[in-house]
């Protein structure tokens, strides 16, 4: 029984009465049930970016290395020698909360397809995860499931998961974040686009069969959660990494021929969005015959076939007359393939089933979608949370350091990345756990560094400054390894955009990303927006996740964070400050999330980054580690304890400020470096040449971390104590106290 299409049914599909009215006007009639389904997914927030588009325009998207900016399946940058990097980050938040294993697994599968659909073999994945309070009853189960799902999919597919980050905040109690990023490499002259051109060309479906899973996933991702969200479990897709692997190899072999015209994966909104978007980019039309779609369930209706989000499927357009080549290759890899339609010049998508037309919709309004300028308002509480009355310093700064270092957001994430195969592919030069991970380019001396993350506490206190800081930190992570930052992919996670304060947060964050990316010359080439991350009116902290890739001329000179030997000099690129607002210290030791994020001077950030890169690639420094969560004290502690052998340090500071502020301020544009004394002069010269301040901090050696300021002892701790809290701080959240 096909339901009767009405305003009420449209509302159940997440379409407002005005939107329904617009559909009727566009078609000159009431839509069929299948058409209503198609409109509802194409016009969902997830697919249409209807609330965010007006703001995203601000982002810088071009640059000398950019081959493909936003609008395709992923972004593409030129890395020289005929190679291109293809990368993108995407959220899978809502499904991962409902069904953590499959939600996270299919998030990885989706982002991998976005990358290999453009012709790239994936060479790295990163995952930035956000969970609620560590002691929330649901948190351990969610971590276990998400990590296992990422591992289960990525490990079997055969992509190394080399980085990302994990952090906790109560605002994620009801809405966790799973942001997956994939990076691939392809010959720069063999990039494939999602374009259905050439009238008469066949449209082929390849990959897994279609089932009823995931119907309306895109719509689910465009609504808030409430008490009934658990009932949405059936809308979460189920992943099959083996089929994805077959699809990858089949696609790459097809792409080595000249048979393909265009290709796109069937992600959110499945067959609907892939066909409509491909035709939209080409300005063509498309006929689809649903009777030919491979399926694994009987009795599926046209509505279900068009909206299914079954995984591991691709839609492609081949040269007319060469269908058999595609079918033969799919047979070699044992995946289903069928000609399901052809390209037309009608400008419409026409869908038939059983010889009947079940949908006929002009493509332009479907892909142009809707564009809202939603009202914005600075939250009335914003000024209040920015006010901070400085708490008195703790009696024992050593204990404070142990508390911050052992905080689950700061402590070692080895428990997580040991479950990820981070070495498959024979490329991993810098493994997870350092500022950025590095994969080499086989057959050359070069390497690619990648990082992803965001300090959402800063974004909550000031979304504009917080977003700038997130870009700057990614830039700094790459620079510390010696990589030249190239470009950004972002994943913008926010609450309900229909609330003016959320929309204000979003607009401010996008403005911050735009300003920082312009100043640091790292254009945004791909990305994703995830809104409605809120439950019962409680939104997450604004989380504009930043993924960034960089290029190393010499991968063998990648610099990592730990000290490498005793009796080496330690110095700071950059300058300390007493800004303490929004720090992990303030949160962990004083229980406050308040104040203003630290100021950032992007010219200074660039100078410090340039100096670090030059020092690293010249082979002058033994280690480099940026100061971020936990400030200088945590950075120094991590330098001491994250190497093969722990190496202590004695630090003499002279900055005239309160000890706790000096230790724990998260002021940006700072990188701790170490080097042999013989290199000191050259280090100084390179810092000066790049206009980066350089401050001598101390010397490596022994088995304690000793930090003094103006002769006064601030911290004096055995490395064993630091190691104990650092190694257990995260693990005890999932495994309980050891």
């Amino acid at each position: 029984m096909t339901p009767e299409v009405s305003v009420a049914l449209a509302a159940e599909h997440g379409l407002s009465p005005e939107e329904f009215e617009r559909i009727c006007t566009l078609l000159g009639r009431t839509p069929t049930y299948t058409e209503l389904g198609i409109f509802s997914v194409m016009w969902s927030e997830h697919c249409s970016y209807k609330s965010s588009r007006v703001h995203l325009k601000q982002l810088p998207t071009s640059g000398p290395r950019v081959i493909q900016g936003p609008g395709e399946n992923a972004g593409v940058v030129d890395i020289g020698d005929g190679d291109a990097l293809i990368f993108k980050m995407e959220s899978h938040n809502h499904p991962s909360f409902i069904e953590p294993y499959q939600g996270a697994a299919t998030g990885v599968g989706g982002i991998l397809r976005d990358v290999f659909t453009m012709g790239a073999r994936p060479i790295a994945c990163l995952d930035s995860l956000r969970f609620g309070r560590p002691d929330h009853p649901r948190t351990p189960h969610l971590i276990e499931g998400v990590v296992a799902g990422i591992a289960g999919y990525g490990n079997a597919f055969g992509v190394p998961t080399i980085g990302g980050d994990v952090a906790f905040d109560a605002s994620y109690d009801g809405n966790i974040l799973v942001n997956a990023m994939a990076v691939g490499i392809a010959p720069r002259d063999r990039i494939f686009l999602g374009c259905a051109s050439g009238v008469g060309n066949p449209v082929l479906y390849i990959g897994a069969k279609t089932g009823r899973d995931g119907i309306h996933g895109a719509t689910m991702a465009s609504a808030e959660f409430d008490d009934e969200s658990d009932a949405k479990r059936p809308t979460v897709q189920v992943g099959d990494p083996f089929t994805e692997k077959l699809l990858l190899e089949a696609c790459l072999e097809l792409m080595a021929t000249d048979v393909l015209v265009g290709i796109q994966d069937m992600g959110a909104a499945g067959l609907t969005s892939s066909s409509v978007e491909m035709a939209g980019r080409a300005g063509s039309g498309l006929e689809l015959d649903l009777d030919r779609v491979p399926r694994r369930e009987t009795g599926m209706t046209p509505y279900e076939l068009m909206l299914s989000e079954s995984q591991e499927r691709m839609l492609l357009v081949a040269q007319a007359g060469r269908e058999s080549e595609v079918l033969a290759l799919c047979d070699k890899w044992d995946i289903d393939a069928a000609v399901v339609g052809r390209v037309t010049e009608s400008g419409k998508i026409v869908v038939t089933s059983g010889g009947e037309v079940v949908a006929a919709i002009p493509i332009a309004p479907l892909v142009e979608g809707l564009k809202y300028e939603r009202p914005m308002a600075r939250p009335e509480w914003q000024s209040r949370v920015q006010t901070l009355e400085l708490p008195p310093p703790p009696a024992d700064l050593g204990q404070a350091l142990l508390a911050v270092l052992g905080s689950p957001s700061v402590a070692s994430k080895e428990w997580v990345w040991r479950q990820y195969d981070h070495m498959v592919g024979d490329r991993t030069v810098v493994r997870p756990g350092s500022d950025a991970a590095v994969v080499r380019i086989i057959g050359s001396a070069k390497g690619v560094a990648a990082t992803s993350g965001c300090n959402s506490r800063f974004c909550y206190l000031d979304p504009y400054e917080g977003a700038k800081l997130a870009v700057a930190e990614a830039y700094r992570n790459l620079s510390a390894t010696g990589a030249e930052p190239l470009a950004v992919t972002d994943c913008l996670n926010f609450g309900n955009p229909e609330r003016p304060e959320i929309m204000w947060q979003f607009a401010e964050a996008v403005r911050g990303i735009a300003d920082a990316c312009r100043a640091l010359e790292t254009p945004v080439v791909s990305g994703n927006v995830s809104l409605y991350n809120e439950t019962d009116g409680q939104a997450i902290q604004p989380t504009p996740m930043i993924g960034m890739v960089g290029l190393l001329v010499r991968a063998d000179r990648s610099v990592t964070q730990p000290f490498k030997a005793g009796q080496q000099e330690i110095a700071l690129l950059g300058t300390n400050s007493d800004e303490i607002g929004g720090t992990e210290y303030l949160y962990v030791v004083h229980g406050r999330t308040a104040g203003r994020p630290p100021r950032i001077d992007l010219a200074r950030e660039a100078a410090v980054g340039r100096a670090a890169r030059e020092l690293g690639q010249a082979g002058l420094i033994a280690s480099a580690h940026d100061c971020s969560e936990g400030g200088l004290a945590v950075a120094l502690a991590e330098c001491c304890i994250t190497g093969k052998l722990p190496i202590g340090a004695t630090i003499e500071l002279g900055d005239p400020m309160r000890g706790d502020l000096l230790l724990f301020s998260e002021a940006p544009s700072r990188i701790v470096i170490s080097y042999p004394a013989a290199a000191a002069e050259q280090v100084q010269a390179i810092a000066e040449r790049n206009q980066a301040p350089l401050q001598r901090l101390g010397t490596t050696g022994d088995h304690r971390l000793i930090i003094r300021s103006a002769g006064e002892p601030l911290v004096d701790l055995a490395l064993a104590e630091l190691i104990s809290v650092y190694c257990n701080g995260f693990r005890r959240v999932v495994e309980g106290a050891a």
Binding site: D240, D421, H422, V424, D426, I442
Partner: protein
Amino acid sequence: MNFAILRFPGSNCDFDALHVLTSVVPGATARFAWHKETELGSCDAVVVPGGFSYGDYLRAGAMAAHSPILGAVRAFAERGGPVLGICNGFQILCEAGLLDGVLVRNASLRFECRDVHLVVEGRPTHWTAAIPAGRILKMPIAHAEGRYLHAEIDVLEREGRVLFRYADAAGGVDAAANPNGSTNNIAGVASRRGNVVGLMPHPERAAEAILGSSDGRLLFESLVARGGRV
């Protein structure tokens, strides 16, 4: 020495092995052998690489053990040809009966990816003859099902067929150095005849200094140096 590297649809260390045997190990050449083939073609040695052969949704390697190409590998091994199974390749060779024992889920119940140390011992084989007994090798592991069990472990031990044991950096073999709960810390074993060898750690991921270790090369070099003889 010409190596045939088996390629199952879910192999994912196939290109890694190909890279090492074409660009890293002197004197080695390599090509893929597709799982649907029934003949290996001309080759001096066979490598069964890591991955998830046919998805491994049943038991790791269970379906691959019955694939067409495994028939050819079995014949090759029966003629005394050297065969090396790495990770999933080890699982496949055990399932196929070319090696004794079984590999079950890690004691931790989790996938484990990290460097381990191995101590080399046992009788000389094609793949270890050039490595002095007692030598410590550093290589990564990356598996969820690497816990080696054997019904007659004493026989295996007595016959000198345990080739690699998980150890600490100094060669100490104890529970703390055992990443998966394998009986007697066993990481790799040989067939009775010694030509078929399997191990869970990945020598092909430890064949170049830039990746953190080049100890894994010793296995391939051992074979190449002796032209396939023990």
